[in-house]
Point group: C2
Chain length 306, copies 2
């Protein structure tokens, strides 16, 4: 039987020490120094076995990667530079616990290294199923938020839509399967966007739902031209690819409102699709090649619906 302490040791082995870390991991608390003039940006997100992933569709490395990726995507949408994270692990009492934990940490550590985000603390508990709850901490001088979009702003998308949802189907294409299992948080894109955008959100629950959040918080509406949506390479080949792009979650694209006069400068720095316009009022209207198109009935993911 694996002990909690063996598991922690095995888990920690893959992680190098971060910058400006005075304490942790391995202590009850971590201590870090936030750079002068920077705000601390914090986010927490969980992936749960049977809800967000299943073995063996996901390898343990995939799970570790994705658990961190979904948090880094939130930092990216805030235009924050990832620095540190804490990882709370819930572990079933049976199965190849130590081996799985080691492999989860390997996938997580690789992404942590690649994005400059260091593990500084965590927790282990028993539970009915595997779950990983990460709190990621970043720094930003002026973090982006959902509010702040103004009528007249362009609606822009960095990254692509629909592939992650396509990856949930039976027999997905390798591209779709990878989009679902190994989402890429658009960290450097977010750092660029923060200099131009008036509001931002990452597409985790579905494009329409997340645009709805951005609009609601900004007190505005939006018009979206569907033919301009950047469908992913897998979604593009599916007859209902557009529906997946509009309603499927977990794409981790960045959805921005950008003042029109800033579009040319943004275009020089990063590739994005201009998909619509922020308008006065409330609600989202869709067009397809200029013609009104009805909203899909189910427009996103709700964790508590069956």
């Amino acid at each position: 039987m694996t002990s909690e302490f063996d598991l922690i040791q095995a888990f920690l082995k893959n992680f190098p020490r971060g910058q400006r870390v005075r304490l942790g991991p391995g202590s009850d608390c971590a201590a870090v120094s936030v750079a002068p003039g920077m705000q601390l940006v914090a986010t927490t997100d969980a992936v749960v076995e049977g809800v967000h992933f299943d073995f063996p569709r996901f390898s343990p490395e995939d799970v570790g990667h994705k658990a961190l990726a979904v948090n880094l995507s939130d930092l990216a949408a805030a235009g924050a530079r990832p620095r540190w994270f804490l990882c709370a692990l819930a572990v079933p009492k049976s199965g190849h616990v130590l081996q799985i934990a080691r492999r989860i940490s390997r996938g997580m550590a690789a992404l942590g290294r690649a994005s400059g985000c260091a593990l500084i603390g965590g927790n282990v508990t028993a539970a009915a199923e595997w779950s990983i709850t990460i709190t990621a901490l970043g720094e930003a001088r002026r973090p982006l938020a959902r509010h702040g979009a103004r009528p007249g702003d362009a609606v822009a998308v960095i990254g692509s839509l629909g592939d992650a949802a396509a990856g949930l189907r039976s027999y997905p294409s390798p591209i779709a399967a990878r989009a679902q299992r190994r989402p890429v948080p658009l960290v450097s894109e977010g750092l660029i966007a923060t200099r131009f955008a008036s509001a931002a959100i990452d597409v985790s629950d579905g494009f329409l739902q997340d645009l709805g959040h951005l609009c609601d918080e900004s007190g505005v509406g939006a018009v979206v031209e569907c033919s301009s949506l950047p469908l992913g390479r897998a979604a593009r080949r599916l007859p209902d690819g557009m529906e997946l792009a509009l309603g499927g979650g977990e794409d981790y694209a960045l959805l921005l409102a950008v003042p029109k006069r800033k579009l040319p400068a943004l275009r020089k720095k990063v590739k994005f699709a201009e998909v619509g316009r922020i308008v006065r009022g409330r609600g989202i209207q869709l067009t397809e090649l200029g013609q009104p198109r009805p909203l899909p009935r189910r427009s996103g993911f709700d964790h508590l619906r069956k």
Copy 2:
């Protein structure tokens, strides 16, 4: 059927906005300003239904209180002032979900207010059982850690031992039941201790186990006189109260190593029990009225043991 968004709304209602909070809760990211010269101290801890609590032994308010309390206790041991926290909730898909969540948040919010710790963010996901994973953030100029204890230091305990473990028994006394369900994080005591102690840890896994961690990280050993241990009011009345004090977890007392010359000054500021001495070498030796006493066989809690 409760939606994720209804649940978030109901949960957030009990929490006032914190200080120096630029963003959150309700956003994907929170943004806060750490005071100049302060280190950010961060910790994460989870409570899981069936592992750390069961309904109806715990009320939802108890669960909310305890989930935050165990995190604040870690900040207390670091001598950090609690400021902000993030709360990741895992919710079963059936049952009186909204009502329970509302009551959990009520217990949590009361403790948050009392300790000056503001909710700034969170997450909701479905899962097989209720669980609450909190990441608490505090500030400290010079955080205490497990390492730093020196031979000759006194071993001191603030708070009492054994009652929380007594609260796990059948038909516990009201005092023991309360110690188990409503642990009090010793936040102000930790803020005092940080000016005197060379190392600290909170007693979450059991006195001997946590003293073992402190000693291992400091590269020292300890001698403890059992008759000096501050048994709680419930443990004191039980024939095996001493065993509960040594091995039972969840007391959330503060365990300190304090240079001898600083003891008088510390005594003027806070009540504590001097229970032993840090010594050269490794391992913990127990005495009872000066006579050697064997170590108990099972000396603490391991989350992954059955």
